[in-house]
Symmetry: C2
């Protein structure tokens, strides 16, 4: 065997992580040389400009009673790539850092990775690295590298008066959960809508190829109300909503007023839709793109030349809540 | 004030994270458009090839009694960039995800960020984003983007028989800590050597410009013995050590044998040196570079054409330990 590679005679017990990651790690591309278990990865670029984020999550905060750990893994990846899509970036390369307790690491890790892997495959991503840490309060942190052709990806603080606001995806299911906090067995439509949230990758193409007319954007991770409030506050202008985004019709059984519907719609979370503020002259063109790509969407409002605030036509101001890591459900003022 | 940006009349209490991150976040470069608090960051590339890693840490696992939280922040950044340097990558862009408990987040977060910021400034990095999560067992996860001119960054599994092994940095201090596990007040030299570990960025330049002759590399994060063992196991060849790396001379007061010195040297951690396996014909040239850059280094051994194992000339095999997140200090076999 001189000159050839040799097996260890007494191979040590491979680490838990390595055994599991090996199954799910993506193959390297021609022109790439590093791979797991090396601590870093070299990347062939997937576009002219790279976009990066890191997104940490306490596992317990996303572990709804009807989500198993593979649903949790899925949801965490979707949450991390949603940040990209809304900035016109195609997410591609994913790195995952995980903290689990010694007690349940064996049980949870593989299930988590199964859901992570489902999302990696579904969204045509690559899982390129990760590590495992000991933690009595389990967590996942995901770094995603995406690529865009947009010279100027839209910020959240640059909406302009007159911009028309387009919102993608469907609302109200997580709002239902929020308003029925301790619910263990919600109706089937709520489970279906929230177990594994979806993000529409093609939104990235629409935003990247129209970045000049899209003045501002943000994704909906902590509720649509909070997303709109962020755009308003950061941009320094008011927002008036004149139409509801697409919402689950089942909500109408629970609401006898418009105000009630709006509360469910605005105070949810993890819908991973896009809120985009489009130059008023180009909004119709952008809406056409959403139609062509079959992405559920609706024009819901306008940016005003007033002090920052979010109001609803014929309804006024409603109480906006958001989930705060430290404060729990807190009112946005 | 028509047309201008307006302040919120009733500004909500800004989040803890935002107040602190604002102080430390790096300014964007010309040609970059996104910045905190947007969820992603666009990057102007700092080199022809990008290198990425994610590195999670349980805060308690690096909180030596003589480290405050700013030392912990420093150490975590140094640990994350060390992975880059040893692959010929200049780390530049840093994203930090943090988990802290509600109880002590206020107290710890700013101190952590002070140390993170010290490392960012010292190593000419950029802090570009981060998030804060609730966790009863505090953690930090860091993603780093680096850049390299090396077409093929060295892997850890491609050492070749005959390669000479060069090791940078100084050993023995963390070994001293490991062998005196419950020590609260170690001697001053140990504190000085371990409180804020150092990494030598110029190592990246040496590796990037000599990647053809550097067959394999790994950084020393879990002990020099483990690093050598990884190279040996993954490459499929044995390693013989014939000289000690640079070590703290104070160790000689504690050791009456070579075997004892080797134990302290090999069973440490967080030294963040580089272990590189160099084609035997080019090793002198590489050593010259380390001299010119004033990086502490030593040629310590050779890759053999035998089964994987790490042995020491005139000493034989010694017990190698490494820190395992779940198993604690475990023997490497």
């Amino acid at each position: 065997m001189a000159g050839g590679r040799k097996e260890l005679v007494n191979i040590s017990e491979e680490s838990l992580l390595e055994n599991i990651v090996k199954k799910f790690i993506s193959p390297i591309l021609p022109g790439e040389y590093l791979e797991y278990p090396d601590d870093v990865k070299d990347l062939i670029l997937g576009g002219p400009k790279i976009i990066v984020n890191i997104d940490g999550t306490s596992i317990n905060s996303v572990k709804l009673p009807w989500r198993n750990y593979s649903d949790v893994g899925w949801t965490i990846i979707v949450g991390a790539i949603s940040d990209h899509v809304v900035k016109g970036s195609f997410p591609r390369d994913v790195f995952v850092s995980i903290g689990l307790s010694k007690k349940d690491a064996h049980e949870i890790l593989e299930e988590l990775y199964l859901g992570i892997n489902d999302a990696i495959k579904h969204y045509n991503l690559r899982l390129l690295g990760g590590d495992l840490n000991s933690s009595n309060d389990p967590w996942v942190s995901v770094a995603v590298i995406g690529y865009t052709s947009a010279k100027k990806p839209p910020r959240r603080d640059t909406a302009k008066p007159g911009d028309r606001i387009i919102v993608t995806n469907i609302y109200g299911a997580m709002g239902y959960v929020v308003y029925n906090k301790l619910i263990q067995n919600p109706p089937e439509w709520v489970i279906k809508a929230t177990r594994r949230p979806l993000v529409y990758l093609e939104t990235a193409a629409i935003i990247a190829s129209n970045y000049r007319s899209i003045h501002a954007s943000i994704d909906v991770s902590d509720g649509l109300g909070y997303a709109l409030y962020e755009i308003s506050k950061r941009s320094g202008y008011g927002i008036e909503l004149y139409e509801k985004p697409i919402y689950y019709q089942e909500l109408e059984e629970h609401c006898s007023s418009d105000r009630c519907l709006w509360e469910y719609i605005l105070n949810g979370g993890e819908e991973y839709g896009a809120v985009i503020c489009v130059d008023k002259g180009q909004a119709d063109e952008i809406i056409d793109f959403f139609k062509k790509f079959d992405i559920p969407h609706k024009e819901i409002g306008v940016v005003l030349d007033t002090y920052p605030r979010v109001t609803i036509k014929d309804v006024g101001k409603i109480k906006l809540m958001r989930w705060d890591q430290f404060g729990g459900w807190i009112e946005i003022k």
